[in-house]
Point group: C2
Chain length 184, copies 2
């Protein structure tokens, strides 16, 4: 427990299936090919409808220690949970559009979330520990993003609807708890 408005928990997914691609010419780490076709990589939704998550380069799968890269695709209407994490995160939007909700965590409690329009070929980053949510608010097409994080494997603190926090984020959520795809 870190405060009255947060219930935090830590999930570490470390049993993603082993995979190989035929295109690769060299095995570098753990028997995996150095050059990998992203289309051949395993994807999962971690129980979140409308989500496709691919670990492009990861800590547990590929031995990275300082950065991790994901490819995430959100069907219309789907979204991340409201969450925060103590690492840097950079997004590069490859397809579609949507909305970023971001609340500064410079105070004890997150401030009122601000809405930001995100679109194909845009980029943004989330300051360490700022509470945020990415939502495909475009009804007509998928939202696809490359997500880069530091300090893998990530610890995600998912925000529940309690006390003061509920009032600041209440327009954005329709239930809890959330389950979020974490590191791989």
């Amino acid at each position: 427990m870190t405060g009255p408005c947060f219930i935090s928990f830590f999930l570490l997914l470390n049993l993603l299936p082993f995979f190989q691609t035929l295109e690769a010419s060299h095995c570098s780490i753990k028997g995996l090919p150095l050059v990998r076709n992203i289309a051949d990589l395993p994807q999962d939704n971690y129980g979140r409808g409308g989500l496709s998550h691919i670990t492009v380069a990861g800590s547990l799968l590929h031995g990275l220690k300082e950065v991790e890269v994901w490819l995430q695709t959100f069907a219309p209407g789907s979204r991340t949970p409201i969450h925060r994490h103590s690492c840097e995160e950079v997004f590069v939007v490859l397809k579609g559009s949507g909305t970023l909700y971001l609340a500064s965590s410079s105070n004890k409690y997150p401030g009122k979330p601000e809405e930001h329009f995100i679109f194909s070929n845009s980029t943004f980053h989330i300051p360490v520990n700022d509470v945020h949510q990415v939502w495909n608010t475009n009804e007509h097409e998928d939202l696809q993003m490359l997500v880069i994080i530091s300090r893998p494997p990530i610890k995600v603190y998912v925000i529940f609807l309690l006390s003061r926090f509920a009032s600041t984020f209440s327009p954005l959520v329709d239930g809890c708890p959330f389950v979020f795809p974490l590191s791989s």
Copy 2:
């Protein structure tokens, strides 16, 4: 000097022009918009013909401390220098194809470089300190990649053609010194 085969130097570019985009809705760090249109970001070639380098998210421009993201486009025939750096690096190939040359640095001197075919929608990462070069060996189209590094601003050690190293990489180079786009 770190050894008979390396001459290293460190360039830090910190005077990239200040920029703004009209699409952005929020100013987060140093007066820059939080959501940025990548098409509006400044690009440079740092003196390398055929190169377009854009810092998508950077340490000096955007205040990131742990990761940095570049968008690099290489015209047919252009390439990075032969270099190494003590950080993690992940590539995501967005367009085109080419060749990665990679020599393990597990020994005192880099081993013989291996060739790896890289292609659109592929990914690979460079182990810390391994000597490498990415070359657009496709005569017909640009090679465009997202490049993610840890520990910005990056220190790049450029490899010159001296003694034993020349023999291992000699098919790959046509002159020196190289100048490489570094951190922003």
